[in-house]
Every structure is written in C-alpha cells, then in structure tokens.
Amino acid sequence: MNRPALSRMAHKILFYGLLTAGLLVFLFPVLWMVSASLMRREDVLDTPTNLLPPVWRFQNYVDIFTEFNFGNYFFNSVFVVGSIVALNTIFCSMVGYSLAKFDYPGKNILFVFILATIMVPFAAILIPLYLIVRELGWINSYQALIVPFSVNALGVFLMRQFMLAIPDDYIDAARVDGAGEFGIFFRIVMPMSGPAVTTVAIVMFVTHWDEFLWPLVVTTTDQYQPLTVGLAKFQEQYGTEWNLLMAGAVVAALPVVLLFIALQRKFFAAMGGLSGLK
C-alpha cells in the first residue's frame, strides 16, 4: 500500500473508533438497562458489575405485571397520552388554520401571545394550574392529566407555518362550490396538512409520555397514575429491587423507542424540523 492510502486507512480507523467509543456513552447504558432487567435481584448487586445476566430471569417482566401494578400504569399512560395527542392534532390544526387563513381583529396579538407562552416555564404555572384543577374537583382524574395539555403553542405555530403554504385557491374554490367552513377544514385543510399533523402527533407523544411533575402533583392513587409516577413510587417503596425496577423502566421506554425505530426519518424530520419553527 502507498502512503496516502495508508493515511486514509488510519483516518478511517480513527473515525470509526471514535464513533464506536461514542456508542459507549449514548447506547451502551440503555443496553445495560435491558440486561439488568433480566438479572436476578442479587446479580444486580454484584461487584464487579455484571454486564450480562449470569442467570437470565425473564420472569421479571411477568412479575411487574402480576405482582405490581404496571399493567394499570401502562394503560393510564397510553390512554392519557393518546387523548392528548388526539386533542392536539385537532385543536392545533384548528387554531393554526385560523391564524393562517383568516383575518380578524386581535389576530396578531393572539399569535404573538401564543408564541410567548413557550417561554413560560411549567413550574411558574404549576401552582395556579393545580388550584384550578382542584376547584374543578378534578384531583385524581383523567381530565386533570389531559385537559391542561390539550392545546400546545409549538403545535399551533407549526400548523400555522405549514398552512400558510396551502394556496387560498383550494379554500376559495371549495367555498364557491358551497362547502361549509368545517367541511373545508376537515376535508381539505386537514388532509393537506398531513406532514405537519404527523409532526405535532410525534412531538406531543414523546413530550407527554415523559410527563412526571404534573401527574405527581394531581394524582394520588394507582388508578390514574401513569408509568412515570408508577416507576418513581416503585423506586421509593422497593428501592433495592433493581431488576424489577429496570424491567418496568424498559417497559416504560419501549413504546417511544419502538415508534422511533419504526418512523426514524419522520422522527428526525419532526424533531429537527422544530428549528424551522423559529
């Protein structure tokens, strides 16, 4: 081999070597979580640390559903996040459509105001939000977990930007043909906004699957608690059952990871495209 080829080779080895080292930081902990979730209780507590289960115990995944309440937590998470995603796709589209295609007094103020709420940290409205939910008698209920997240400012903004690009012709033509305003919205505008709707749905799903502080504050019993709170409770009560805790953690992580693997490109477009929101 001549020298340039050798140096190219060395470059390549170094490049892939560094990339693989990065995997140790970004991917390896997650793989180890799966490994720990399949160990026996005492094997997690071994020194030196076990990388793989000395004895594989798949029973952990049965135990968390039969002996602990993970099935219930899982259902709550799915139901709450599903509702939030459904409400947001409809409401964010409606509001985005209004901001993109209609004219009325105060429209620009409304738009700027909605954008400004992105800067409001959740902790700043946590207390009044709790008090509102309490006044409504919603403490420990699904409404409490869903309604305060039924419209999202970022989602509205995304829909507006997308709908600005829909030609007015389509909408006006439908009006000339006598279509009703809601018919236009549901049968023309919504279907044309497919990619933006997908983005909103993905972002909402990932964000709210992760919700912790709010359910921690407004739910008090297993009946309504999602996986995030269920896991934290399990950790407090059975802190040393690391194998079961990790099994629960894997179950909690799985839906988003699977969605990501299945829809990688859409996912990246949605998450990366958020910068286009600027």
Binding site: Y104, T117, V257
Partner: protein, 310 residues
C-alpha cells in the same frame, strides 16, 4: 393576482381585491370559532393562571384556610432566605453546566453526521436513543449506574483507583452527576436540530468558498456559523428554558440533596407548595423564576437575534 385569473378569467386587480376581502370579512367569524380552543385554553391556563399566581404570591396561604393578604412580604422573605438564594445558585450551576457542553457537543456531532459515511444511519439512530428515553426512566437508569459498588460506572472508576465513589451522596459530586446524565440526554436532542439547520445551508456557498481557497475551518467560521445563527438562537433559548425547568432527575436521584446541593428552583417550588403547603411563598418563587427566565431570554435575543453581515 393570478388567482383571480384562474377563477374568473378576468385579469383585473380592481375586481380581485373586493372579492377576496368579501370572503375574508364574511368568514372572520369562523376565524374566531377556529381560534376558540386557543383563546379559551391560553386564557384559562396562562392568563388567568398567571394572574392568580401573582395574586397568591401576595398572600399567606396554607391551602386549607383562607388566604391572608401580606403584600410583598413573601418576596422580601424569599430574597433573604438562604435556601432560596442557594436554590438560584444551584439552578444556574445546573443550567450553564448542562447547556454549554450540550451546545458544543451537539454542534460537533451534527457536523460529523452532516457528512456521508458508511453506517451513518445506524450511528445516528444509536446516538439518538437517549433522547427518546423518558426522563424518569433515564434518571432511574443513571441512579443505578452511579451506585457505589455495583453501578456501571464502577467499571471505569474502580480500575483507575477511585473505589466506592458515592456520587449521589457527596455534596460536591451530586450536581456534576445530575449534569452528566442531563448532557448525555440533551446532546442528541439538539444535535438533530443543528443537523437540520446544517442541511438547510446551500452547498453552493461551500463550493464557492472552496474555489476562493477557503480552508475547512474558514468555511466553518465564515459560512456555517453565521448561517446557523437562527438555529443557534433557537437552541440557546429552548435549551435554557428547558434546563431551568429541571425537576425529574433531581427528584429521582437526590431529592434535592445531599443537603441542598441539588435543590433547583422547580424542586424548591414543588416542596414549598406541596410538602409544606406554603402556597404564597411558592407562588412568589415561581413568579421570580418566570421573571428571571424572561430576562435571560431577552438578553439572548439581543445577543443572537440580529442578523449578521460579516
């Protein structure tokens, strides 16, 4: 006015304008109907809620009795409360300890993944995994990683002579530990945003610069960075807003401790509101958090917001 032509076959702007306006006016009522969800939602959960928070912050209230008005007393107490001042200090430590390395690593990795190479898609997906793991799960996992004698980190620390490091029980190590797990999870999130930004820069610019003899570093400094400015502003604002809200990792890993070493502001607010039922005090703290964040955001827009000419 091509719209008018296509619909009416009349090439007359004079005709087109009233026509369009008629639609707009007739339909403006529908505009409000479509906006209604946002008006109600943001009206209740932001305007009314923030107003209520301000009002409560002027009261002493334990959630059970009736609030009693005490004016600015809560604010005066907060600004002399060493716990609160510590909380601000700890929060800033966390925020800047997290976001600055995150920006650098995220941009660096985005530059790597902006090239074409074999297995790129695999590495990109693998690096992105932490960003799709729920933060509660991520925190629980790292709690196990940090365990002194059986955690994953002992595989690195033990051989180099640091045995039985109690990451989460040492006042000097707890915050770096929380920051580390936050960085690893935040880097892929912002890497993807930078990557999308890089892909938005036209290839022609680089080709033209290359023809003019610009080196790789020069192209990065004179083309990439200036053109990434809007993305950088977005990343800076969003990452700082997000970091200021940190709650989950401190709740799971340290409960604010040891001592108050990781008692960040959201933790402080949460405890005063829901453990000590000190609603007025907690509200005042949350208003101060909001004001601080608005101030920081304003500064960032001033620093990064203007388009650059150089």
């Amino acid at each position: 006015m091509s719209r008018t032509e296509s619909i009416d076959g009349v090439n007359s702007p004079r005709y087109a304008v009233p026509r369009r306006r008629r639609f707009m006016i007739r339909k403006s009522g529908y505009g409000l109907i479509f906006a209604a969800p946002a008006i109600v939602f943001f009206g209740v959960f932001y305007v009314f809620a923030l107003g209520w928070a301000v009002w409560i912050s002027f009261n002493e209230w334990n959630l059970l009795g009736t609030p009693s008005y005490i004016g600015l007393e809560n604010y005066r107490l907060l600004l002399t409360d060493p716990e609160f001042l510590n909380s601000i200090k700890v929060t800033f430590y966390y925020v800047f300890g997290t976001v600055v390395p995150t920006w650098i690593l995220a941009l660096g990795l985005a530059l790597v993944f902006h090239r074409a190479f074999r297995f790129r898609q695999f590495f990109l997906a693998a690096y992105y995994i932490p960003a799709v793991i729920s933060l509660v799960v991520w925190s629980l996992l790292w709690q196990l990683i940090y365990q002194p004698s059986w955690g994953l980190l002992t595989l690195i620390t033990d051989p180099i002579g640091f045995e039985y490091v109690r990451w989460l029980n040492d006042a000097n190590l707890a915050m770096p530990a929380v920051i580390l797990l936050s960085i690893v999870r935040a880097v892929p999130t912002y890497m993807i945003i930078y990557l999308a930004g890089l892909q938005g820069i036209p290839e022609d610019y680089y080709e033209a610069a290359s023809l003019d003899g610009a080196g790789e570093y020069q192209r990065f400094r004179d083309i990439t960075l200036p053109l990434l400015r809007p993305v950088t502003l977005y990343v800076a604002v969003i990452s700082i807003v997000a970091a200021f809200q940190v709650f989950t990792p401190t709740y799971i890993l340290t409960q604010g401790g040891p001592g108050s070493a990781t008692r960040v502001l959201p933790m402080f607010i949460f405890e005063h509101a829901f453990s000590f039922l000190n609603m007025g005090y907690a509200s005042a703290a949350s208003i101060l958090l909001l004001l601080m964040l608005l101030g920081l955001t304003f500064i960032q827009f001033r620093l990064l917001g203007k388009p650059t000419t150089s």
